[in-house]
């Protein structure tokens, strides 16, 4: 350092003169070409993003030759007299300064810059300054940026007048834009297709054949292309009353909150009682729990004035993420856990990527770094999920709730308890027996009282008892006391959030996101770009178990004038109905998100949502009653030419079934789906040994369920972060580690392999074949007809039936199959139909 100081001093002296002297330096054409062809790009890609513009780093601007010679805070960057002593040369060689900081340039690149300096910095005569566009800094929180559409309050827009009004106001918004583009909405869907669409949409399951026929007949009318709207309304109500509705829509929610049932990392251990959260979500959708209440319970169910068993379970929301039980940097791990919560909360409820402001101000949205830590402050007092051991998890994240445990788990708990109690009693009395004859008079009396026993036993240490015996006695004695005081109550336990109120921790802004660089203290606050009120945290009442901060956050998120909450949720509802949102980036309503295709419609829906008392079911009715929802998905050449992406919604988009829907449908088609058994601890499907071989302890953490349980709906399959059911995983199951607003829909050959050769699919094909044989008589024709009818959910054509019969014949003839085998493989084909996998 000293050496450098001296150097700077001398350099400044020399340099002022040399800049002047060098102003009129002349260069050959070759030298200038060298600059143009090799130097400029190097400077641009390695140096100028910091060393350019109005306030370059270290006051060193490298965009002009004079700037380089002039230098910055450390003196001239280049010494034309002594090239090797140039700062620039030293810095790129990582001697002293290390530039660029992301890592050293290649020797070849360093060679180019060195040569350039040695040439005397050749520079084109007519080039004053290298043009370089510095990325604009983070957008500030100012009036201009506050005008961005999603930050503005929601206002009820006027319903536009259209030439041909559809079923309801939703259509007015859509047709208004279509008219402007010279397009019209596609005709109504075929009644049967629509009934199928509605069943999958709300229940994730096909309609029972009789039901499908009945509703198809009911919603059809004598006029082609016209549907009976009152029958459709009736069908919507009917479906919304089904308990399976909550399983389908609850699963969407589980995607958003990164629901999984284990912690990831080495042990990937199971989260205790986590399934209660899943059940809570299913039940909340079935009950049409108002969305504001649903949000509040998850964020602050323990801070309500009258918390319920349900609201405690809801706070399991905080416990669903990854947990590294032996982090290399424990302090960093704490903030990684907060980051998980900030990320999930801000994206899921607000459609904001506040998480991008952890290390610096958000680069794209007007969200300062301070706002990130102000949001952390709401959560700062939450106890970590656990600290290393499973016991610590039980103490920090599990509590009894005011609800009876289910009989099975209560009996199990009692059985475990009795066994532990017996064991401890046995151990204790074994040692006590050894000293009974040794007790003196007074001791005999004292020994009657448990409180004295440890002392009396300890007195015999080194005498008739050895160290190990005494130590074990004390341990078992304590265990026994603990067990006696904690008999299972018959109450259920749940995974919950807890705070430590004995030590309310301050929150600091962390410089560059480093937990080891605490800067200013911050207090809880909402994103400032939304011009929110101050977050006023009420004083903690006597005996409070929490800081009360999360409730304040929940109240603001669910307030009717929050510009984002209702918009974000109605957009999600729209997305799950139509396959994509009005805002496609449904968790990013910021500057980089996509603009709404129908902004007025979005706002209109948001207003209706709040007016309905935040009723999700009311939104389903509204949306599904629209002509837009009931449109055919068939192509139209004319509309396709104008709007191939269907941004204007001239038709309904087809969609592939989700992974759960595919598995559930296969089980439904072959008659084995156990859909009536809902709720409770998760189930284990059969995972092939080859997949388990990828675990460090093959099979660990994966149990065996009863045959009846194995055919339950997919939402009940255990979600183990490091070992997912391969069939479910291959059809694009949600990422378990981060909030997932839209699932991928990939088409891969490995899916086809699984659908043709896996043990699972072959078994299901067998079951299907047997089901068909039992239910549709002996003739091959009736069997083929029945199989196709179930798979396609419509009557097959004669051609389709004959095609199946031909396959069966050919398999029998050329592959020496018997009837049963041929039937099975025909059934396998039926399970693979695109018509089964895609909805119109």
């Amino acid at each position: 350092m000293q050496r450098r100081a001296v150097h700077i001093f001398s350099a400044i002296l020399v340099c002022t003169a040399s800049v002047l002297a060098d102003e009129n330096a002349e260069f050959t054409q070759d030298q200038v070409e060298f600059f143009d062809s090799q130097v400029v790009d190097l400077l641009k890609s390695n140096c100028l993003s910091c060393h350019s513009g109005k306030s370059p780093k270290g006051a060193l601007n490298l965009t002009t030759r004079a700037g380089i010679l002039q230098g910055g805070d450390s003196g001239p960057a280049v010494d034309l007299k002594d090239h090797a002593e140039s700062y620039l040369i030293q810095a790129i060689n990582y001697e002293g300064y290390e530039m660029p900081p992301s890592g050293q340039m290649s020797p070849q690149q360093i060679g180019v810059l060195t040569k350039w300096v040695e040439m005397g910095l050749p520079w084109p005569k007519d080039l004053h300054e290298i043009e370089f566009e510095v990325h604009a800094g983070p957008p500030p929180v100012n009036e201009e940026n506050k005008k961005f559409w999603s930050f503005q309050p929601v206002r009820l827009p006027e319903v536009p007048a259209v030439k041909q009004p559809g079923n309801n106001a939703v259509d007015a918004f859509i047709r208004h834009k279509l008219e402007a583009a010279g397009l019209t909405q596609s005709p109504a869907a075929d009644a049967r297709e629509l009934v199928r669409r509605m069943h999958y949409d709300l229940l994730g399951l096909p309609a029972e054949p009789m039901e499908l026929d009945r509703w198809t007949a009911k919603i059809s009318t004598a006029n082609a292309g016209e549907l009976n709207q009152s029958a459709i309304a009736e069908l919507i109500d009917h479906l919304l009353e089904s308990p399976h509705y909550g399983e389908q829509w609850g699963r969407h929610w589980l995607d958003l909150v990164r629901y999984a049932e284990t912690n990831s990392y080495e042990r990937d251990s199971a989260k205790p009682h986590v399934w209660r959260y899943r059940d809570y979500v299913i039940q909340a959708f079935n009950d049409d729990k108002p969305y504001d209440q649903f949000v509040t319970e998850q964020l602050a169910g323990d801070e309500l004035s009258e918390p319920t068993a349900d609201s405690f379970v809801a706070t399991g929301y905080y416990r669903l993420g990854r947990w590294d039980d032996e982090p290399a940097d424990p302090k960093l791990a704490i903030y990684d856990e907060f980051d998980d919560i900030v990320t999930t909360t801000s994206q899921t409820f607000l459609g904001l990527t506040v998480n991008c402001a952890r290390c610096h101000d958000h680069k794209i949205d007007p969200i300062p770094q301070k706002d990130y830590y102000r949001m952390v402050a709401f959560f700062r007092n939450i106890q970590r999920y656990g600290q290393r051991s499973q016991e610590s998890v039980l103490s920090a994240s599990v509590m009894q709730i005011d609800r009876p445990a289910d009989a099975r788990s209560y009996q199990q708990a009692i059985a475990n308890y009795d066994k532990s109690l017996k064991d401890a009693e046995k151990q204790v009395s074994k040692i006590e027996k050894l000293i009974l004859n040794d007790l003196q008079d007074v001791e005999k009396e004292d020994f009657q009282y448990e409180a004295n026993r440890v002392r009396i036993v300890e007195k015999r240490q080194g005498g008739i008892l050895d160290d190990r015996q005494v130590k074990n006695y004390k341990k078992q004695f304590e265990k026994l006391q603990h067990l006696k005081a904690n008999k299972p109550t018959g109450l259920a336990s749940a995974l919950c959030v807890k705070e430590d109120v004995t030590n309310i921790k301050p929150t600091y802004l962390l410089t560059r996101g480093s937990p080891h660089a605490e800067a200013d203290e911050v207090t809880p606050g909402f994103p400032s770009i939304l011009s929110p009120p101050d977050a006023v945290i009420p004083p903690m009442p006597e005996g409070a178990q929490t800081s009360g901060r999360r409730k304040v956050l929940a109240q603001w998120i669910t307030s009717a004038d929050n510009p984002l909450t209702a918009r974000v949720m109605v957009n999600r509802i729209w997305q799950y109905h139509f396959g994509r949102g009005i805002v496609r980036s449904s968790s990013d309503f910021g500057f980089q998100g996509t603009k709404p295709t129908h902004p007025e419609l979005l706002d209109w829906l948001a207003v209706k949502f709040v007016e309905s008392g935040w009723s999700v079911k009311a939104m389903h009715k509204l949306i599904m009653s629209s002509s837009a929802y009931q449109m055919s998905s068939r192509p139209s050449e004319q509309s396709f030419a104008v709007d191939p992406v269907n941004d204007l919604l001239w038709r309904f988009d087809m969609r592939r079934l989700s992974s759960e829907e595919i598995r559930d449908t296969i089980l439904w088609v072959n008659g084995s789906l156990n859909k009536d058994r809902m709720f409770g601890p998760s189930i284990y499907t059969d995972i092939p040994a080859a997949v388990k071989a990828g675990q460090s302890q093959p099979g660990s953490g994966w149990g065996n369920s009863t045959p009846d349980d194995k055919v339950r709906r997919s939402i009940y399959i255990h979600v183990k972060r490091s070992l997912l059911d391969p069939f479910i995983e291959s059809f694009d199951f949600a990422d378990t580690d981060q909030t997932c607003p839209v699932r991928f829909v990939t088409t891969q050959p490995t899916q086809a392999l699984g659908m043709l050769n896996s043990e699972f699919i072959l078994q299901q094909a067998s079951v299907f074949a047997e089901f068909i044989r039992e239910t549709s008589g002996d003739s091959a024709e009736s069997q083929v007809t029945a199989a196709l009818t179930r798979a396609m959910q419509r009557k097959p054509t004669q051609v389709e039936i004959e095609r199946g019969l031909e396959l069966i014949e050919s398999l029998k003839q050329h592959n020496n199959m018997n009837d049963e085998q041929a039937r099975k493989y025909f059934c396998l084909v039926a399970l693979n139909l695109n018509e089964l996998m895609y909805l119109d």
Partner: protein
């Protein structure tokens, strides 16, 4: 208004449907520039249009390597007992010294030296010192660049493995092989683009998280491949369907699906799914052919140690890796070591027993792989990477014995082929190998080097997710290790 230009769809829709979802691709501009978006392939049946997200893509610049074989020594091999020669340590055994260490046993300030348990000799023109654990690899040192100053963020297996595989200590991020396939696609659609081979004793801890595609679509995750038995999950059709039975099934399926698609002619997803069955059908014949090592000469089989029970498993995997490289598989990761304790390189107990076992299993096959690739003139295009999630400490973990705890402050990895200089060693650790001192490199620099050799700019290859342009090397970026690049 956007105009259709890809298979009748707009670019945006294309990206949407190929799995990018709303998140979009950080590579969009790049794709445009390379005309990738206009690049269509036809499915294996020769008819159906098929836009495969794994279709080959143009790299950012001319690549040095076309394929990567990452030989992963799970558990953490001891650098000072293998390739990082510490002559001063001999004679110091049992001495207690002041040294800062951090492993599973926590932070310590002093420890008892465990002298390296093997002799070192000089090899090759470069005169590299290599221990007796790797006498065969030692004969290849003139083709190898040793990185002696590697560092990582965590000395704990779970998070350290995620870092080595995905660049982050947090679970849920795409692995190196996913990035490579995302950036380059695959030149062979009949085989997976990213293959993982596991130790038969078990997978590594955290299992599939080590080869997951994280927030990217599953298209980019690894396929586990076995060198014996059924090479890929669900690859073999039931035996009843031999003699063209499966073809009959597929032809019938195709007829049904063809009729279905005819009424929905503008939905290319339906065509893609039809095509995927043909690709699967091809894979069923291609993959078993790839793993059929009996096609190799006796000499080759012996060279890889297939006749030596000690190293035949790794030998088969290395030989299979070469065959997969020949068939265009972009990235292959072989795990040496699995399960727990001494089933992998995690030598907490008896260092000698542990390392003799694992080095003994791998030395000969590794040397064979390098030499075989070289004699076939494939080494120049194939980048071999060797190492584990960290190294081991110079001191003993316990009061007794030779076991060493984990060390992420300094450890050795090596690379060979794929445009990497041979016979060089860069970076150093201190005189006992406790920590890196000169030219410290982080895991991200290793990743940057691999991507760079594959023709991808590590600071430009990005994937938009969760509001951020994510990169394998992190948002701050990282330069390749130029000193080892030829």
């Amino acid at each position: 208004m956007t105009t259709p230009n890809f298979c009748g769809r707009t670019r945006r829709e294309f990206l949407w449907q190929t799995g990018a979802g709303f998140t979009g691709l950080g590579m969009t501009a790049l794709l445009d520039q390379d005309g990738f978006l206009n690049n269509q392939t036809v499915a294996a049946d020769g008819e159906t249009q098929w836009d495969n997200p794994l279709a080959p893509k143009q790299p950012h610049f001319a690549p040095k390597a076309k394929n990567v074989i990452f030989f992963y020594c799970y558990g953490g091999p001891s650098h000072i007992d293998t390739f990082d020669y510490k002559p001063d340590m001999y004679g110091m055994d049992g001495k207690t010294i002041e040294v800062k260490t951090f492993g599973r046993g926590g932070h310590k300030n002093q420890g008892r030296i465990v002298e390296p348990r093997w002799k070192f000799n000089q090899y090759g023109e470069c005169g590299k010192w290599v221990s007796d654990l790797f006498p065969n690899v030692a004969t290849c040192v003139d083709d190898i660049a040793f990185l002696h100053s590697m560092t990582a963020d965590s000395p704990i297996h779970g998070s350290a493995m995620l870092m080595m595989n995905s660049g982050r200590v947090l679970s849920g991020n795409p692995c190196l092989g996913s990035w490579v396939n995302y950036g380059l696609g695959s030149v062979n659609q009949d085989l997976p683009g990213f293959v993982v081979m596991l130790d038969p004793r078990g997978g590594p801890i955290s299992g599939s998280k080590n080869w997951s595609s994280g927030y990217m679509p599953a298209t980019y995750q690894a396929t586990v491949m076995r060198s014996q038995g059924d090479p890929i999950l669900d690859l073999s059709p039931p035996s009843e369907l031999a003699d063209g039975g499966q073809r009959r099934l597929l032809d019938t399926l195709r007829q049904y699906n063809g009729d279905h698609a005819a009424l929905r002619s503008d939905n290319s997803n339906l065509a893609a799914r039809i095509a995927s069955y043909e690709l699967a059908y091809r894979m069923q014949s291609e993959a078993p052919e790839a793993v059929d090592l009996s096609q190799e000469s006796q000499a080759t089989q012996e060279m890889y140690g297939l006749n030596d029970p000690k190293c035949s498993t790794v030998g088969r995997q290395c030989l299979l890796a070469r065959r997969l490289v020949e068939r265009g598989v972009r990235m292959i990761q072989i795990y040496s070591g699995g399960a727990h304790n001494d089933d992998n390189w995690d030598a907490h107990g008896d260092l000698e027993t542990n390392h003799n076992l694992h080095a003994g299993e791998t030395d000969k096959p590794l040397a064979a792989l390098i030499k075989d690739l070289k004699q076939r003139d494939m080494l120049k295009d194939t980048l071999i990477v060797w190492g584990g999630e960290f190294g081991r400490q110079p001191t003993a973990e316990y009061a007794k014995g030779s076991g060493r705890d984990h060390n992420s402050y300094g450890f050795t990895m090596w690379m060979a082929g794929g445009g990497i200089k041979g016979g060089v060693s860069v970076g150093t650790t201190d005189e006992i190998g406790a920590q890196a001192v000169d030219d410290k490199f982080h895991v991200k620099h290793l990743h940057a080097t691999i991507l760079h050799q594959m023709g991808l700019d590590p600071n430009k290859l990005s994937y938009f997710f969760g509001g951020l342009d994510n990169k394998l090397v992190g948002v701050e970026g990282a330069q390749p290790i130029w000193k080892v690049i030829a």
